[in-house]
Subunit: 223 residues, 2 copies
DNA sequence: ACATATTTTTAGATTTGTCTAAATTTTATT
DNA sequence: AATAAAATTTAGACAAATCTAAAAATATGT
């Protein structure tokens, strides 16, 4: 029964990839999608899926895609929890910037110690969101749910507080730093250009113009 | 040239084992000794030694034992440094007790990020010793050297400050906790029994009797 | 619906780290 | 110094995770 509790780093990486792909389209995940996400070959994915299926982490029928079982989802959530807690640690305690933490958290998320995870959580003050605004599941696997929307969906003259990014790649995060856009900032949409979808916004008492691409990767919460 | 910089967890574990065995007897390390230390088979050790030799971490002649090269020593020191810094983190920041930290640090020592190690060092206030009193090498690989001796070597009516343990196994550490013996405590040797080598000591204003076995696993620094 | 394209799986090979069992070398003993 | 004992290495095998190339299943387009 407890024989299957140990997971290798690789198994955990697959579970996490399936989780992230699964929450997006809310259906079974394609072999090729996993292969692309993990930068590996579809044949390798098939092999691993079989193994994870035998261990009870995913349900799988040949050619029909894969989805996480309850056990698999639970496992994925603990990995996501660890990843995001470590990101908070790196930013809050070690003064890393939000574009530097992902790669290190990819390593730290595999550290096996429930007590460590829980102590870290406590040490950080039970944070609900990571440095990119992504929610941190509780020990029980529950997310704080928020009613966030993309900035480009906000109507003219409406406001919101910046609560997250959709694209958390280093280039985008560095762009935001450079233009002094940070989580917690109060943003008012002043105007939208029909021509290119760009937005005129007020942020930190300054009025700036941002492209549609930027606006569609920034989450805000209505105030 | 830089092809050999990446090391697997397993390679790092071997390097660390060779390091620890090497500093003790200050000579080449035997295959069997490594096998025993790592709880593996001598044939596996031979295979790995070959690989580490090809990568330049150890120097090795068949049947003649193995020793770390400068590169290998440097690598070992960074692993030891990471291990001990994480131990300090766990005890100082996350309130772990000193008998719980070794296993977790065994995992954390493999995290690859020089910036993380250095930031952690800074965050912890550049500690010179881990929770067991073992010295933490600096980024440059230098130890703070101390003139510590075992408690059983202290003459009657002489004193010392408890600075470390020779045996850092959980049972011994728990024993010390139970009897309220901690690093930093001021200890005076009042008497030694010829019969069994046990010592009468004064610690924290209390006089207690400890066995030779205990005394020979406690390091003190002369005051 | 049929042909074609795409996706997925299979079969077989490779690398890493390990093992067992046998062979070899070194060390210890008498 | 010869022989026994111990340590070490070699040879061959295995499991995990990956790959390539080919085969099979599914999806797409007219």
């Amino acid at each position: 029964m407890f024989k299957f509790l140990f997971m290798t780093h690789s198994e955990e990486d697959y579970i996490k990839a399936i989780y992230h792909l699964g929450v997006l389209n809310n259906s079974t995940v394609a072999t090729n999608a996993i292969a692309e996400q993990m930068d590996t070959k579809p044949s390798s994915v098939t092999d691993m899926i079989r193994k994870l299926s035998e261990k009870g982490f995913v349900s799988y029928k040949k050619y029909q895609g894969v989805s996480l079982t309850d056990l698999g989802t639970q496992k994925a959530l603990t990995i996501v929890r660890k990843h995001r807690l470590w990101e908070v640690f790196l930013v809050d305690k070690l003064d890393f910037s939000w574009d530097e933490v992902h790669e290190i958290a990819e390593q730290l998320e595999h550290i096996k110690s429930e007590k460590l995870t829980d102590s870290l959580d406590k040490h950080l003050g039970y944070p609900k969101f990571d440095p990119h605004g992504d929610p941190i599941p509780s020990k029980a696997g529950v997310f704080t749910n928020t009613t966030k929307k993309l900035l480009n969906e906000v109507a003219i003259n409406n406001s919101g507080i910046c609560v997250g990014v959709k694209d958390s790649s280093a280039p985008f995060l560095k762009f935001l730093d450079k233009h002094e856009i940070a989580l917690g900032d109060y943003i008012t949409v002043l105007d939208k250009e029909d021509f290119d979808g760009s937005l005129q916004i007020k942020i930190n008492e300054k009025i700036i113009l941002i492209s549609h691409q930027i606006a569609s990767n920034l989450y805000v919460k209505s105030t």
